[in-house]
């Protein structure tokens, strides 16, 4: 049985042993936690405070959003597979899984776009009431994060074609993966807090 060669990004010696970029990404994600914390807190504080409708129970389609949540969760799996692929030096496989991740991410965002246009037609805009205000801004920030993630994923794919990304660059994929998983976890929190927890309205 032949041994599998594993690749790892080289980096300079650091005081903690962690590469600078990885440490920076963790710190950035920690900071981003507070960003979403503030947005989610605002949503929760204003829950049930809208003076006029439409109200959440009137517009939410939980089965629909559950499906798109599952899509996003699946994309974390494909992301893990992409990282595993580059660590084995399999650039072709890596591209496939990265593209799959990006596609799933775009499907998620597309699903949100469809969902929001439906809400809008049902009378819920940014300025209709507190629900519209807090809901769109919270999910909009998250969707933007997903969009940036998709851009990064597609960039990795493109760069692997031009030779800018080689099997030595597992760190780049790992970092994008960290970001992607973070965005996924934030969605789990948002989905639970916003969609699943009943408000009585």
């Amino acid at each position: 049985m032949e041994s599998v060669h594993t690749f790892e990004s080289e980096h300079e010696a650091t005081s903690t042993g962690l590469p600078n970029t990885k440490l920076a990404m963790w710190l950035f994600l920690a900071s981003d936690c507070l960003l979403f914390g503030a947005l989610i807190s605002t949503y929760v504080l204003y829950r049930g405070a809208s003076l006029v409708g439409p109200y959440p129970s009137e517009v939410f389609d939980i089965p629909y959003t559950s499906v798109s949540s599952f899509v996003l969760l699946a994309s974390s799996l494909t992301m893990v597979l992409a990282l595993a692929a580059i660590q084995r030096g399999e650039m072709g496989r890596m591209r496939v899984w990265l593209l799959a991740t990006a596609l799933l991410g775009m499907t998620f965002v597309g699903g949100q776009v469809y969902e929001f246009t439906t809400f809008y037609r049902e009378g819920l805009s940014l300025s209709t009431n507190l629900f519209g205000t807090t809901f769109y801004v919270l999910t909009g920030f998250h969707g933007t994060h997903v969009g940036v993630g998709v851009l990064m994923l597609l960039s990795l794919v493109a760069m692997s074609f031009t030779g800018r990304i080689t099997p030595r660059d597992t760190m780049a994929v790992e970092l994008v993966g960290l970001y992607w998983h973070f965005v996924d976890i934030v969605w789990i929190v948002i989905f639970t807090v916003v969609y699943l927890i009943p408000t009585g309205k």
Binding site: A13, T14, S15, T16, L18, N20, L23, A24, L27, F28, A30, S31, D32, C33, L34, L35, G37, A38, L39, T42, L45, Y46, A49, S50, L51, L126, S127, N129, L130, G132, T133, T134, V137, S155, R164
Partner: protein
């Protein structure tokens, strides 16, 4: 002599040919050298200091007498708002950033920061934000809702003024957040071999705490500013009571950031003072670990006191009690620091150079501000004090008498290292004494004015309130301060006429930055030093005999090649005799990316297409940056 290499021009296919100029205008635009970036931060911050000071002089002229007529109400509101925004976001923070940028790598024994291009980006983003906010003066009105921007006033007052506020602060916030990532990673991850966390200078510890405070506080105000922006521009109702919103939500968002912010403002100066006192008292900082732990404690507790800015809002007795108590608690670690500084002076051999004078005055004046702060924590008393000049007195004592004085101490202390020349001591002392007198004349009486019923943010007051006399004294004091600043400017200009003869270690100091030439070479250290103790440089110069007497080490001190220092395994491939030193390459892209930000800002205010254009510029900048290799 080490061989230094940078990425060759046009190498490895980036979007643009790699810039390589080392002198001249473009060398500054494309620099990624932390020392140059530090100088850029310092000069820009000082320019804003002059502008913010002029705004203050106008405010004082307007208030010198009852029923003042110097400024109209609307101009006054712009001036006091911009004075606060300027001094906090465009002066103290970037001045601290200047010191952090210049000295973090030098004090931890590194060649540069973790992400040099990101570092450059933070400067250009800061500059963009500052200029953007000020452009309001020419484009319809500068921010006029107070630096604290309370809603609903800030969301309903007509005009674009507060859009400049929200967008400009988002830009400077991006700069500070990116900087926080960069400098925190640098301090945690790039220390020289042997420099454990507890062998780091206190200034490095304070720098680290500040970066973490920035990383965790800025996201909250970012959300708040977006909420304000959206309320104004897109019809949302975050702070709109007519739709069920709560204006107090803004206050929570703001102060959850705002209180850690004041520790962000003071901790760098406290770090500087912790460096300066030992050098000029000729003994180590008393209670190093306790000073470090107090700084960390202040950082933590600082997240738990925010509503002490809101005692009169009507949050209820439970909230007021909780925050009153947490505010009293934070006085304890603050006191610990003060006592340890005084312990540093005890049994020292104190040379009252200008940096030392500023450092000692810091302690004296900060104590006043700290004590008045304790009186604010007595919540019922705060019902009288809040929103009066008593508060204005308090925060100027800690932020001017404290932070600014501490920063000036750093300026005088580190000037020779940065510019290779000393600032004149006699002119420096004149600057100091005038500033001390002017400062106390201006802000001392404000304690009385507040207690006698003068609220904040009023452009005038009637003669019947008996407030005229102390207001006049305060105005006179302000002009004394202005004179002292002018004297400093003259001192700075005069210093450049001297030859660069300061030498590596003019003060006989204790930390690693004094072990290299003044100014340092581009690569900082010929060889990365190996560190054996706290105050590493001091221990290379001096040793203690058995009797506890401190004697110079023969042939030790500044200029010694650290490679001769015995210390076990040599540094791993970091330029030990003969190896090439790799420096990060210069780049256009941080500047380009930062350029996108104000375009987006103007677009949001005026024409949405400009925001799209700005996003494209930002994207191009980021992609160019990503395509470019960091170093060979």
């Amino acid at each position: 002599m080490a061989t230094v290499s940078v990425p060759a021009e046009g190498a490895r296919g980036g979007l643009l040919r790699r810039p390589t100029a080392t002198t001249g205008f473009w060398s500054w635009i494309t620099t990624v050298d932390h020392k140059r970036i530090g100088i850029l931060y310092g000069i820009t911050a000082f320019a804003f200091f002059l502008i913010g000071g002029i705004e203050a002089l106008f405010i004082r002229l307007q208030l010198a007498q009852p029923d003042g007529k110097i400024l109209s109400a609307s101009t006054y509101n712009e001036f006091f708002t911009m004075h606060g925004v300027t001094m906090i976001f465009l002066v103290v923070m970037p001045l601290s950033a200047a010191f952090f940028n210049y000295f973090i790598p030098l004090q931890i024994g590194a060649r540069d920061v973790a992400f040099p291009r990101l570092n450059a980006f933070t400067y250009w983003a800061f500059l963009a934000g500052g200029l953007f906010i000020y452009s309001g003066f020419f484009l319809g009105g500068a921010p006029n809702g107070g630096w604290f921007g309370y809603a609903p006033l800030s969301t309903v007052e007509p005009g674009n003024n507060m859009l400049f506020y929200a967008l400009g602060l988002l830009m400077t916030g991006i700069a500070s957040t990116a900087s926080a990532m960069n400098l925190a990673v640098t301090i945690i991850n790039m220390r020289a071999p042997g420099m454990t966390m507890f062998r780091m200078p206190v200034f490095m510890w304070m720098a680290l705490v500040v970066q973490l405070l920035l990383a965790f506080a800025l996201p909250i105000i970012t959300v708040g500013l977006f909420q304000m922006l959206f309320d104004r521009r897109f019809g949302t109702h975050f702070f709109d009571p007519a739709a069920g919103g709560d204006p107090v939500l803004w206050q929570h968002m703001f102060w959850l950031f705002g209180h850690p912010e004041v520790y962000i403002l003071i901790l760098p100066a406290m770090g500087i003072v912790s460096e300066v006192l030992p050098v000029f008292a000729r003994k180590p900082l008393f209670g190093y670990q306790f000073v470090v732990f107090s700084g960390i404690a202040i950082g933590f507790i600082g997240f738990g006191v925010w509503a002490h800015h809101m005692f009169a809002v009507g949050l209820g007795p439970v909230a007021n009690t909780a925050f009153g108590i947490s505010t009293l608690i934070i006085a304890v670690p603050t006191g610990v620091k003060i006592f340890n500084w005084m312990g540093t002076l005890w049994k020292g051999d104190i040379r009252f150079t200008t940096p030392m004078l500023f450092a000692v005055a810091f302690i004296g004046q900060f104590v006043v501000g700290g004590l008045s702060g304790v009186t604010h924590a007595v919540v019922p008393a705060d019902y009288q004090q809040t929103d009066t000049y008593y508060i204005v007195a308090h925060f100027h004592y800690v932020l001017f008498g404290g932070a600014i004085f501490g920063l000036f101490s750093g300026v005088y202390y580190w000037w020779p290292k940065v510019f290779g020349r000393m600032l004149d001591e006699r002119i420096g002392k004149l600057h100091f004494w005038l500033m001390v007198i002017g400062f106390n004349l201006t802000f001392g009486p404000m304690h009385i004015l507040g207690l006698q019923g003068m609220p904040r943010r009023i452009q005038t007051y009637p003669a019947t309130l008996g407030l005229g006399a102390w207001n006049m004294v305060a105005t006179i004091g302000a002009f004394v301060i202005a004179t002292s600043v002018l004297i400093f400017v003259l001192n700075a200009i005069a210093s450049f006429r001297r030859p660069m003869d300061a030498g590596a270690d003019p003060w006989d100091a204790r930390t690693l930055e004094w072990s290299v030439s003044s100014p340092p070479p581009a690569y900082n250290f010929e060889e990365i030093p190996v560190v054996h103790s706290l105050d590493e440089l001091w221990h290379r110069k001096y040793a203690e005999t058995e009797g506890g007497v401190v004697v110079p080490v023969p042939a030790g001190g500044a200029g010694t090649d650290p490679a001769h220092d015995s210390g076990g395994a040599g540094p791993e491939g970091h330029g030990a005799g003969g190896h090439a030193i790799h420096l990060p390459g210069q780049s256009y892209f941080p500047f380009v990316a930062a350029l996108g930000l104000p375009l987006i800002g103007y677009g949001v205010i005026f024409h949405l297409w400009m925001a799209v254009a700005g996003s494209v510029v930002l994207l191009v900048g980021v992609y160019g940056w990503a395509m470019e290799p960091a170093s060979e």
